[in-house]
């Protein structure tokens, strides 16, 4: 991994993992995020990815 982390990257990472991501089904119900993830979550982009990682509780920012 990159050795140095810039101030900008650090702040963006903090912001990325500090947000709560919620997803709803077309019917308006909250979409549960399984620990094993889904293809649908990946298709939601960064929000789905981070939400899943947070669910797995192994986000690298937490480690840091």
């Amino acid at each position: 991994m990159n050795k140095k982390i810039s101030k900008e990257s650090k702040e963006l990472l903090k912001d990325l993992y500090s947000q709560d991501y919620h997803f709803t089904t077309p019917e308006g119900k909250t979409f549960p995020i399984p620990k094993s993830g889904t293809l649908g979550l990946l298709a939601l982009g960064y929000q789905g990815l981070i939400a899943w990682r947070k669910q797995k509780s192994n986000a690298s920012i937490v480690k840091q």
Binding site: E8, S9, L16, P34, T38, L39, L42, A43, Y46
Partner: protein, 917 residues
């Protein structure tokens, strides 16, 4: 609407409507369906060669590869130490993101191929190495120069997904029966995971940029469909013969699931756009997914590209774009001009295409500038920098080798460098071949072929180029060389089976080392041998082409029947046979063959056009129009098919539509005189339009022409009036014509003395009848069938008898010097000639009427052809007053020779008939 113009450009490498349409029909690609319904969709024609880095750079620049400089998957390392994956540093011209940066637009680019090293544009750029992964998660470093601005590298690296992070939840939709795979022997599931992870990484980064950054232009490129098609298309239904039932069952869902996953990602991207955004979704080529899937991939670098189909996809929606319509005629090079047009920016005259105006509700034609590359200002373009990043190169190269796009260079670095240069030159020659620039392709191919005569692709392409440029002798010689050499290099079936057994044995003994060097070498030997076998088949077809070029149509027909027994590919053979029947004017046979070929390959525009020609010549005009329409619908850049459509509509008296078809063919080939002459006829007689008429007539004329205006002169011979037709034609071919024995050879001599190069093959030698030679070209005798030899005739003079003039191709301009001689004298002269040859016969009285008819038709014929000027020269006057004729020729040819010199060629002694009389 805020009137802030935004463009989201999405690239799906290798996406194809043939797979998408059934999925959309089944409601499994709802996002794409909504895009199609709200905008326009159509085929997009790829370029040759269909190699993705070249194609995506043409998309991003609007230029062909010889201009933009990206010439394949690899390039020689600038330090001369082997090869490296192609880099953005090699791009010689500005891409759309550089132009937009220059104009101050917020511009972001994710994953474009090639885009490593990143360019410092006005926004974020993530290179094509951003998500590439060939290491364990803890060692997965991101190469330098992957992210611009560099200070966001660490942040974006967090948005990457390592394949090992995926779970079965991600993979089972692609491979529901994954439990049946023995992963110790079959690593394809890992390849699948890698592709899904890569796509998800680019997608995560793109969605973050769209949500968190200001943007005017956003480009996202995904190569996942292409990679997974190369790996799994052979398992896509319907099952191919050579695929086992077991493998088919395990992998048959991969392709459809890949498209569905892309649709889900598309849905997310579309939700991040607003009504001011123009969305453009494109692919660079299609991918064969049906019975046209090749069962064998030739042994050559980029061999897997044989699986690519000529048409990719395009759909667009946004402000001003038509809704729920199909567009025709899109090509990859239209994309950048279209985007520039959306922003109201001018198009570079050096770009190879125009905006896709057919997609917009109103056609506002853009402003032009000579070139964006001449516009000063900061564009973020790499300044010829040779950024070499060994780590990034290694990762990318490894992946290209795995995909089969690149040959493993092995350890021999010098050889690898030579190979990289050769590949680039070969690809450049393909670019030239693809754009009919044979003169540029030939020297490259000749050098490649000389260096490696065993590489059949060099020789086969060179043979095509020779034939296209009518270098028949060279083609014959090379054909002979290859026909002798290739069979010596081909392994026998026995030896191939033996090698296969050895490979299987080695793999069984040590499955982990299935990539062993020795095994690979053996596999390569087999592939090379099979490739040469294919080449031998193609040589047989080229032999037919040679016969056709030599006008030996009947011999070709006999030969084709002979070789049909040993020809495995009926499609190739029947294509040749159908074209042969067109050449022989066997319209019914051609029709039947094209109909059958269309059953095999219904989206082949050349078959539709061939059928249109066959129908046209049988006066089946409605059918002809339908077939020609099908042809141009599939391939808009097809001037001949537009002309055939015009011809059918013209005959159906639908003049307005016919004119439209002719106009399109002229847009594509302005020199296509057949269309222009028809348009002149239409605007003169059927749809009178003085302005258009004048503009088309003016095309043939030029004030700067070397030809000066001659005095109108009326002459009479045998009571027929001949009036010179004076047109200032540019770049014309000089033709000396007349009835045989009317003094044409003498005039050829005078033209030669005037300094005009004579186009003759010297086959017919001087004899007693024409002691100074005949100045003939064999091609002139079969002009109706073979016109290729006239390609190089501009500025030269060629002798063509009166009866053959009507077969002159209409794409060139002609300055005809027509010799007039009393018909009875001509007949007597011909008779005397036959007498000298011992072929004495009765005086041919019937000829007189026939010759008279031919002469009467000449002026009428020339009047209708605005690419023809004609000067009549009286033979008897020339003999009596050679200086007068010489002065006309001097003026006509702008000769530096003196009138006296020109007149010297007139030898009164040769005027036998007159002397006799």
């Amino acid at each position: 609407m805020s009137n802030k113009k935004k463009v989201l450009l999405i690239g799906w490498d290798a996406a194809d409507w043939k797979v998408i349409n059934p999925l959309m029909d089944a409601g499994q690609m709802p996002a794409l369906e909504s895009l199609v319904n709200q905008g326009v969709m159509g085929n997009i024609a790829t370029l040759d060669p269909p190699f993705s880095p070249m194609l995506w750079t043409s998309i991003a620049t609007g230029k062909t590869a010889d201009k933009h400089g990206i010439l394949g998957f690899t390039e020689p390392d600038p330090e001369g130490i082997g090869m490296r994956p192609i880099t953005a540093s090699s791009r010689k011209v500005k891409a759309i993101w550089n132009i937009l940066t220059q104009k101050g637009y917020k511009t972001h680019v994710v994953g474009w191929w090639p885009s490593h090293p990143v360019e410092p544009i006005n926004g974020i750029m993530l290179s094509n190495n951003f998500a590439k992964c060939n290491q364990a998660p803890d060692k997965w470093a991101m190469p330098d120069k992957t992210v611009h601005p560099e200070n966001l590298s660490r942040f974006f690296s967090e948005l990457r997904i390592h394949p090992s992070e995926l779970t079965q939840e991600h993979l089972l939709p692609f491979v529901p029966k994954a439990d049946k795979i023995d992963q110790s022997k079959d690593n394809r599931i890992y390849q699948l995971a890698k592709s899904i992870a890569e796509a998800s990484s680019y997608h995560a980064a793109a969605t973050w940029i769209m949500d968190n950054q200001e943007w005017d232009f956003m480009a996202v490129y995904l190569d996942t469909i292409d990679h997974l098609c190369h790996g799994f298309m052979n398992y896509h239904p319907p099952k191919m013969k050579n695929i086992s039932e077991n493998e088919f069952e395990v992998y048959k869902d991969v392709i459809n699931s890949t498209y569905r996953f892309h649709d889900m990602m598309l849905d997310t991207l579309l939700k991040k756009t607003d009504e001011d955004t123009t969305v453009i979704l494109i692919s660079d080529h299609g991918f064969h997914s049906d019975h046209l899937r090749p069962s064998f991939i030739p042994s050559e670098p980029a061999g897997p590209a044989y699986q690519h189909r000529d048409y990719g996809i395009i759909c667009m929606k946004g402000p001003g774009i038509k809704k729920d319509e199909r567009i025709y005629g899109a090509s990859l090079m239209n994309i950048t001009p279209t985007i520039l047009n959306i922003y109201g920016l001018p198009i570079g005259e050096d770009m190879d295409a125009a905006p896709l105006v057919q997609a917009f509700e109103s056609n506002s034609f853009p402003n032009m500038i000579p070139s964006w590359d001449e516009v000063d200002g900061y564009s973020g373009m790499l300044d010829g920098e040779k950024n070499s990043d060994p780590k990034a190169n290694f990762e990318e190269l490894k992946q290209l080798i795995e995909l089969g796009y690149v040959e493993d260079p092995g350890e021999n670095v010098k050889e690898a460098t030579t190979k990289a240069f050769a590949e680039q030159n070969y690809n450049l020659s393909r670019v030239y071949l693809g754009s009919n620039r044979y003169d540029k392709a030939i020297p490259l191919l000749e050098e490649l072929q000389k260096k490696d005569p065993t590489e059949s692709r060099f020789a086969l392409n060179l043979l095509t180029a020779y034939l296209e440029t009518n270098l028949i002798e060279k083609a014959e010689s090379l054909h002979k060389e290859c026909t002798e050499l290739y069979p010596k290099l081909v392994l026998s079936n026995e030896n191939i089976e033996k090698l296969k057994e050895e490979i299987n044995k080695s793999i069984e003994q040590d499955p982990i080392n299935s990539e062993d060097k020795l095994i690979k070498e053996k596999q390569e030997k087999i592939k090379k041998s099979l490739t040469l076998r294919m080449a031998i088949v193609q040589l047989k077809l080229i032999e037919l082409d040679i016969l056709i070029h030599k006008n030996k149509f009947n011999e070709a027909l006999v030969r084709i029947k002979e070789i049909s027994k040993s020809m495995p590919d009926r499609k190739l053979l029947n294509t040749k046979l159908a074209n042969l029947h067109l050449g022989l004017k066997n319209w019914k046979e051609a029709e039947a063959l094209f109909i059958n070929l269309l059953k095999i390959d219904p989206e082949n525009p050349k078959y539709h056009d061939g059928l249109a020609i066959a129908y046209l010549n049988q006066q089946k005009y409605e059918d002809a129009a339908g077939s020609a329409l099908d042809a141009v619908g599939l391939m808009h850049f097809f001037p001949y098919a537009h002309f055939h459509l015009g011809e059918a509509l013209f005959q159906l008296e639908s003049y307005e539509h016919a004119a439209n078809a002719y106009e399109i063919s002229l847009q594509q080939i302005p020199k296509y005189g057949k269309s222009r002459n028809r348009l002149i006829e239409i605007y003169e007689k059927h749809l009178p339009n003085a302005e258009k008429l004048a503009s088309h007539i003016a095309y043939f004329e030029s004030e700067n022409s070397n030809v000066t205006t001659k005095k109108e002169e009326v002459q009479a011979i045998n009571d027929i009036e001949f009036k010179n037709i004076n047109r200032n034609l540019k770049d014309s071919v000089f033709i000396v014509s007349g009835l045989p024995r009317s003094g044409t050879s003498m005039m050829m001599q005078m033209m030669e003395t005037a300094g005009i190069q004579v186009l003759t093959d010297g086959i017919r030698k001087a004899d007693e009848n024409n002691p100074k030679g005949y100045y003939e070209h064999e091609g002139a005798k079969s002009l109706a069938r073979n016109k290729v030899w006239l390609k190089d005739a501009q500025g030269k003079v060629v002798k063509i008898i009166a009866q053959q003039l009507k077969h002159l191709p209409e794409k060139y301009n002609y300055n005809i010097i027509f010799m007039l001689r009393d018909i009875r004298e001509i007949i007597a002269s011909q008779h005397a000639m036959l007498d000298r040859e011992g072929k004495k016969s009765a005086y041919p009285l019937a000829l007189e009427n026939s010759f008279r008819k031919s002469l009467l038709q000449i002026t009428e014929w020339a009047k209708k052809r605005h690419n023809v000027a004609i000067t009549f020269i009286n033979h008897a006057n020339t003999i009596e007053q050679p200086l007068v004729t010489a002065s006309i020729i001097k003026e006509l040819t702008n000769s530096k020779s003196t009138i006296e010199n020109l007149a010297c060629v007139v030898d009164k002694k040769l005027y036998r008939q007159k002397n006799k009389n």
